[in-house]
Symmetry: C2
Subunit: 330 residues, 2 copies
Amino acid sequence: MNEFELIRQLCANLPVNDSVVIGAGDDCAALDLGLSDTLLLLKTDAVVEGIHYHSDADPARIGRKAINRCLSDIAAMGGVPTAAVITLGLPAKFEFPYVQALYAGLNQAAQDAGVAIVGGETTTNPDRVLISVALIGTLPKTVAAKRTGAQPGDAIFVTGELGGSQAGKHLDFIPRLTEGRWLVQNFDIHAMKDLSDGLAGDLPRLLERTGAGAELLAHAIPISRAARLRAATGSPQPAAANGPTHPPTRPQATRVPGGALGAALADGEDFELLIVLPAKQAVPLLDAWKKEFPALPLTCIGKVRPEPGVTLRDKEGARPLPAHGYVHFE
Amino acid sequence: MNEFELIRQLCANLPVNDSVVIGAGDDCAALDLGLSDTLLLLKTDAVVEGIHYHSDADPARIGRKAINRCLSDIAAMGGVPTAAVITLGLPAKFEFPYVQALYAGLNQAAQDAGVAIVGGETTTNPDRVLISVALIGTLPKTVAAKRTGAQPGDAIFVTGELGGSQAGKHLDFIPRLTEGRWLVQNFDIHAMKDLSDGLAGDLPRLLERTGAGAELLAHAIPISRAARLRAATGSPQPAAANGPTHPPTRPQATRVPGGALGAALADGEDFELLIVLPAKQAVPLLDAWKKEFPALPLTCIGKVRPEPGVTLRDKEGARPLPAHGYVHFE
């Protein structure tokens, strides 16, 4: 049983109550606690030594990554983050300067996003460091109402460039909070997700709700310089000592394109925004984006289709894209 | 550096923002998100295989414990829990029925408390199971305002009986949500805490805010039958196979009384409520409590004093009680 089958099974029986507007399965849960026009967002995420980062990675960058992963999910909802609590699992013999540096990273990333850290839990996790972050935020109810799911004909956009995670971006990415908020305030965002598991893994999950499919244009996918460099030098190893430990081998390497395009589709941990909105808003979006965020690329990479499944079109035609990014427990 | 020194150091530099009413250090954080008369509570807690439970413990009971620990903190605020998210760290080769049973326990305990589980994160934690729960709830602002901290002369109460954790209660305790809510609605609760680390550890932390001290009456402390039985048979081992793995040895055994009283003071994980309120409310509280909760003992165990430090008075006189319960990372 892999990670996603496990999650699907577990999600089937979760208890709910009247407060739940969006439950398990989306980027964040959304709850109605009686605020007249606002929903509460709730999200948790974790990083584990040796799984999400090498043991010799800079602890301040690890701390930043731990909180920025959660912030990236709030960004994907177009929400505003408010406060976080941290669970820190530590081997019994930890070094205080290391923990201080971890927290310096957590604190800095929180502060950059205007987030308070309001508590936590320290516990022994004898064999390795584990950091679990839970974060709350807010979202206008009007924004949640526009999130109808991907509709056939919708345009698919992505921010930034993809494929650079193994060269270090997985530790140093900036959650797209300002951009996510601006997007939901100014456009009818039907669906949005942060790219944590790779386009080939995340896009099918974004389409799941409405049962739609998509066609991606291979030549349109924005590939990062780091991914091109790694592909050109043929390096199978992370270019930086601080690269992530996963995927140690890419099980889907035989099924998705290799090289730089393969990295952009499947390496995961880009933490860019994957955006679905009505096709008629595509050009206005590109125009407004260039004025608002001139330094950050925004690229239309394909469109939503009524038939399920994701295809990748290149000069040789269209072929199915296997729905795999990084998967725990395969 | 032990756990509490670590936490103190880390708490000194946490980022805050305007939403924070109660930050790190109390049982739960409390946030003002603009609800007219309600604060939001946020709490996280974790259990780790081999630290908080034996590997052969019943997974459904482990799941219950994981969420009930957080619920116990909401109870100690007098709050109402709303929704939870779960981080589940699993070895790569997990057995699905085991995870199903863990979740059955999580779901049941959540449902019993009216709590929705609205998401989570599964990750590899290669060497052992780790469950981190984050929980939100609500609290009337009027209740938070009465929480002024322990004042000299205040009476100290405890619910239930203490010292039974190692005989199994640490897995099967019931969070005192109804009682906590009733207490804050009907009395001027100056301070309240759930007993997770033992009376000898938790009382000093409850007094910290106002710098007060306390005198406990040894003969008044309600000792559980399980603790008396274990002391009578001289069993140094958990009576049940599912007993907690901690404390494997009790480092403070030489400093606090041994036997059943020692267990009641220092074993921890009783998850009863420790309550501080004005002395003039002590008798009305006892009267009202007997009518409202006839099956659950409520005992006055001492009083708050102006001088710092906790003393334990028995027939031989009063002596200082060392401020130790269970401590990670000693």
